[in-house]
Symmetry: C2
DNA sequence: GTTGTGCTCAACCAGATGGTTGAGCAAGGA
DNA sequence: TCCTTGCTCAACCATCTGGTTGAGCACAAC
């Protein structure tokens, strides 16, 4: 099933965004592409650590890297957000649907209580 | 700043959902509350492992647990989805906004190219 | 009170993760 | 050709994570 691959993808995306530094990098990249060292300047870690973070983001498909001489400009792949949004919305809607049903059940029980009260 | 706490919260939420078993538990809970052993029946792990997963979900605020005799019914806290959706939408919108600006810049450059082409 | 059920806590283990430093490669500039 | 810049790869380390088993607690039922 293709679902296993999608689940794996989703795991990598959520896992990538579980780190505040990487979330910040994503935020930074919405303002435009940046090189590794430009990105790294904002964080108090080695360039190698920055490079590792970018690899995680790249493996999750959140980011792509091209080549410009020695530089490796990083580009945000915003479509991946859709994957997350879809997952979240699916379950949010299911949960809300259930609450609606629950509400109507409670309302019905309430009606019955009142009827029974009237009958006694 | 309250932002540090929110970032921490967001990290816990994303991290909790990075695990496919926990995502599945959340999916399962949109259908209604369940006890620990009911949830655990679907997975090939010990009850203690299930309990640990639920603790992670609870710490992230995705789930709450009450008490019913020996049972600990698990309840989905769907509002947390909002936190994620907000984060995602914020950056998605920024990214899209940037693309729109970029498009108009490219369009302008294109116009100029055409003008220059006409002038030559 | 004793026994059974549902669950959690504690200790442990293997593997992943986030950081480090050191080495090295690829491309531009002297 | 050699040096510098921008970056990655490799090895290593501490900590976290997801799993295990064993012990034990809280409540129900007998």
């Amino acid at each position: 099933m293709a679902d296993a691959a999608e689940s794996d993808r989703l795991s990598r995306v959520f896992s990538a965004l579980a780190d505040p530094t990487r979330r910040d990098m994503v935020a930074r990249l919405t303002a435009g592409d940046a090189t590794v060292s430009e990105l790294g300047a904002s964080y108090d870690v080695s360039l190698q650590a920055v490079s590792k973070h970018l690899k995680v983001l790249e493996d999750a498909g959140l980011v792509s890297r091209s080549r410009d001489a020695q530089r490796r400009p990083v580009h945000l792949e915003a479509e991946v957000f859709d994957l997350m949004t879809k997952w979240i919305e699916r379950y949010r809607e299911q949960a809300e649907e259930r609450y609606r049903r629950l509400d109507s059940v409670l309302a019905a029980m309430d009606d019955q209580d009142r009827d029974e009260g009237a009958a006694s």
